[in-house]
Symmetry: C2
Subunit: 208 residues, 2 copies
DNA sequence: CGAAATCTTGACATGCGTCAAACGTGGTGG
DNA sequence: CCACCACGTTTGACGCATGTCAAGATTTCG
């Protein structure tokens, strides 16, 4: 199975009734790569992209995150990537010490729930990048998001972002999308909206 | 920084003095992908490769693991990949419920410590695959292992395995290694031994 | 010592990156 | 409300790097 199961809705800690829901506008940053981790983020709506800049200044996208995902897991005490809101995003933050209490009270399965999103996202990313052929990679990517979003249209993700995620050029992404349109597996009413019309054909094309 | 810091030596739990050290011969499997996770593995010596087979039967290598690494983190209760010993391997196992108690008492830091190896490995893998150009990818890979092994020679890793790890063909791996030999950045007294002669040149060649 | 696996080298075709230019779109300010 | 501008997308032409196929050399292991 290429698609992992990070799509389960989170059981969120109760919030004070009067609290204003934390949110970010499109383009805003939730946290920065290398910054010291003080809390994790449970996404509730919207789309976030994980970004990392290489030494040469190249931009890499490490993942796209949606409602239900938990991001911000530290390695060495700091965030592993920069989290940028693509759309308006609402979320809940969980301070590390609160999380510790949560872990103590929960079961063993609960233990790794926290790291599941990021572990799964990196795993998927590697699997996508392993596919040779731009078209296969694009189809696998679309199939992946299709399942993650339970069939909803893929929206608001720029082709440039897809390119930086799949290690392709924007031109190649555009051409691949055109082929997918011509084959009738997807429809694109707008530049930033991909509707999967034929899921079976999509997975077939993603196979090598 | 391309290279992450999973190279810290682990503080291992004390073992019974009379216990026979668990070990595996080259080619043996420590655990299987999809199998229910009952314990994690702390590697103490030797080399392990993480393998995953795609639906089409293609072999992917997700990472190489060395002394000090902790592998076997479950997602959804099962192992994320198959762990095969490349050399003779010695290790210590930690049962999941023991680990759970350990994490509960140790807090979030202990949790993140546990997943550091696999999170870091996937991260590195993605970063390597993002580099376009076979030579750059190979150089980045070599530089990565060079730092992970603290300058020791890279040994016992077959070129086929490198190919499956970097999403290249064995032929391309071989040709890239030849270029690196001709450039004088590495030496190869045997087919399965890579000695980094010029680390500076190596990192320079890995830049895009 | 023999056989199987791995590595090496060559020739060839093609798919993707690069460069360049035009088009569409969304946002901002007058 | 319209005009303009900046950014992202689209399309084309071209060259090179890498995958593919094939044959031979080397190593490893029984």
């Amino acid at each position: 199975m290429l698609v992992h199961s990070v799509s389960n809705c989170p059981i969120l800690p109760p919030l004070p009734a009067v609290a204003v829901q934390p949110h970010a506008k499109a383009g805003e940053t939730l946290f920065w790569e290398g910054e010291e981790t003080d809390c994790l983020y449970h996404l509730q709506s919207g789309i976030v992209r994980g970004v990392r800049y290489t030494e040469e200044g190249e931009r890499n996208i490490v993942g796209f995150y949606f409602a239900g995902d938990r991001i911000g897991v530290p390695v060495g005490g700091t965030y592993r990537f920069t989290a940028e809101a693509i759309t308006v995003v609402t979320y809940a933050t969980v301070r590390l010490n609160v999380l510790a209490d949560d872990i103590r009270s929960g079961g063993t399965a609960r233990l790794f729930e926290t790291v599941q999103t990021e572990l799964g996202a990196d795993e998927v990313h590697s699997q996508l990048l392993c596919r040779q052929g731009a078209l296969q990679r694009m189809c696998a990517f679309a199939a992946c998001l299709y399942r993650r979003l339970n069939g909803a249209a893929i929206e608001a993700i720029a082709q440039v972002d897809i390119a930086d995620y799949l290690a392709l050029t924007p031109e190649t992404v555009c051409r691949s999308l055109k082929k997918m349109r011509d084959s009738g597996v997807i429809a694109m009413p707008r530049h930033d909206r991909i509707e999967v019309v034929n899921p079976a054909a999509l997975t077939a094309m993603s196979l090598q």
